[in-house]
């Protein structure tokens, strides 16, 4: 479903991704772990098409098409979804309107009819239940005044509404207490289907007790330095990253 080949990317004049290669097949769950600043969020943002990053080499093929040639909205319309590590606040735009615009844009791109506000509210009921959110939050401005946990749940709500093919979850677990973590994990698991795939970026193996990965990759200095199965996550938990990560300076010498 997704083939990333030797991907390089930078922001400004700073090189961040330095040759990432990763294959994700339909039905799989991949976990990406690694120390702070290793480029995990950058990888997720590049896949979603954030124009703040410039791809300087490599390729990304998604369902047989060149993902990097698509605008962010086209990627979303093709089923790519990124749950942001730091969800954005949008004063003045209600969550309901935002969600419905997104939902209808994606439907329109697929040649489906738009839904009106009432139909949409119906559809939302089940989705809200899934992430245990009150209908009241639909009338609030997007992420404004939301707690950290509410923002993360709102990301999963959006994911539940848009039903993506390829879901990228960037540290959706950080800052969540154990109940919230379970809600988020249940949300993700409920959306799992044989024809979609999930990439979970996380810091902690804790989340992986709930969302069980088929593969675990360690990212360091913009490269995947080790891949394995779910036991790698446990090993990382026990040993930390130091044994995998060469100090930056050592590369040059």
């Amino acid at each position: 479903m997704l083939e990333i080949k030797d991907l390089y990317a930078k922001a400004g004049d700073r090189d961040i991704l330095r040759g990432i290669t990763l294959d994700v097949a339909a039905g799989e769950v991949h976990a990406i772990m690694g120390p702070n600043g290793s480029g995990k969020s950058t990888l997720a943002q590049v896949l979603a098409g954030n124009p703040a990053y410039e791809v300087t080499g490599g390729s990304v093929t998604y369902q047989g098409i060149d993902l990097l040639a698509l605008q962010p909205e086209e990627r979303a319309q093709q089923g790519v979804f990124l749950a942001f590590q730091y969800p954005i606040e949008i004063p003045g735009v209600s969550n309901a309107y935002f969600l419905r615009s997104a939902f209808n844009s994606i439907r329109a791109a697929r040649g489906q009819e738009e839904v009106d506000p009432l139909e949409f509210l119906d559809y939302m009921e089940k989705k809200l239940e899934l992430v245990d959110m009150d209908v009241e939050m639909l009338s609030r401005s997007v992420n404004m005044g939301f707690s950290g946990g509410e923002k993360k749940r709102n990301e999963i709500l959006q994911m539940a509404v848009l039903e993506p093919r390829l879901a990228l979850l960037d540290e959706t677990d950080s800052g969540l207490d154990i109940d919230a973590l379970r809600i988020v994990a249940n949300g993700v698991n409920a959306l799992k289907r044989p024809d979609n795939a999930t990439i979970v970026v996380t810091h902690y193996q804790r989340l992986l007790n709930y969302i069980v990965p088929d593969f675990v990759h360690v990212l360091a200095h913009g490269k995947i330095v080790k891949s394995g199965d779910k036991s790698l996550a446990l090993e990382l938990e026990a040993k930390g990253y130091d044994w995998l990560v060469e100090p930056q300076g050592a590369l040059a010498s």
């Binding site: 098409g49 962010p72 004063p91 997104a102 848009l162």
Partner: protein, 438 residues
Amino acid sequence: MTAPYLADFTTLSNNGARAEPDWLRTTRRQGIERFAALGFPTPRNEDWHFTSVSSIAEATFTPLRGASGQVAKSALEPFQFGQSDWPVLVFVNGKYDASLSTPASLATGIRAIDLSTAMRDEPSLIEPWLGKLSPSEDRSFSALNAAFMSDGAVIHIAPYIESPIPLHVIFVSDANAAKGVAHLRNLIVAGHHSKATVIESYVSLGDSGYFTNAVTEVQVEQGATLTHYKIQRESQRAFHVHTIDAKQARDSHYLSFSFATGAALSRTNIYTNLDGEGCGATLNGLYMADDEQHVDHQTNIIHSQPNCFSREIYKGILSGSAHGVFNGKVYVYPIAQKTDGKQTNNNLLLSERARIDTKPQLEIFADDVRCTHGATVGRLDEMALFYMRSRGVSTDAATKLLTYAFAADVLETIEVEAVRSELERATLERFSGSSATP
């Protein structure tokens, strides 16, 4: 530049104005003398530094003599939001049109008639205030208006009258207004402890070039609350200069909102003098300009007495090669202790060529006051834009939605629901072509 107006004035004095009462003739004569002495303002004048009126000064406008156009009631529908029972006064090309107006539905205790009738039949409704609330010694356009003022709305709200429904005054121009000028003069007297809402709409049918030169004089008596909305949707080729001068007696409240999207060049002056203790003034507004439009607001909040508050939020959205100007003065006299003033002006620039000159000005001569002001100029939040696009929303739709969202909070301050939803609709339509509220 001033010569054609002087010639027109001679014609006016020899004709209609001859029958007018002495005080009015004096007002007119003083007006033309001041205008002749001042000429049109130039950028050397501090208050006009960022707004050149040479396009007005160099053109020749002939005084509009009224409704030669036949404006159908249905043509006004787009501008007549709210309930059908709202009283409406309609002026077509600068002249009152009784057939389009519905003063009969005014609440008991409120009178609204046209200025030309008041001048002829009931000068007592205007004489104590006209030209006194809005002086024109130092103001070219007001002086010109004083010389030529021909029509407008005269509104009296009796003491203790509280009207739940607004009075809507609509100035509409059509193709027959081309190359003409209307010197409109309105008077609103809100009697003590009264409560009312007046809406002034300046709109146009078609795209002719004309000049609206308006003055609105407002007296808010003790304990009264006047809500005053101004909606400027003139044609993109029109010129619009409007001065609102409010004078507030003790414990009164004046709430103003200025919505400006039209005209090639518009200048709105809103001045209020809190001339009694315990007054409050709220001056909010939203201006949006595109292409080559120029939109200028100048507000002046004068704290003359202690224990008053003022609140001001103006927002601007500028795209294309538009030029916005905001100049907000807050003046606090030495005796105006315990003044509480807050002013903000936020601007959103949607293109590289769009420009804003914003100048908040605090002049404080009392020591025990709390006054703040701030101005911002920004562009669309790139991260918010990307966030929306990453959910499948097109760049265009996301841009429009974020632009609307920028304006949303100031529109939310409009208390009359029908006005608020109409201006929300108009704003949204301007940026998205759709009108469902986000």
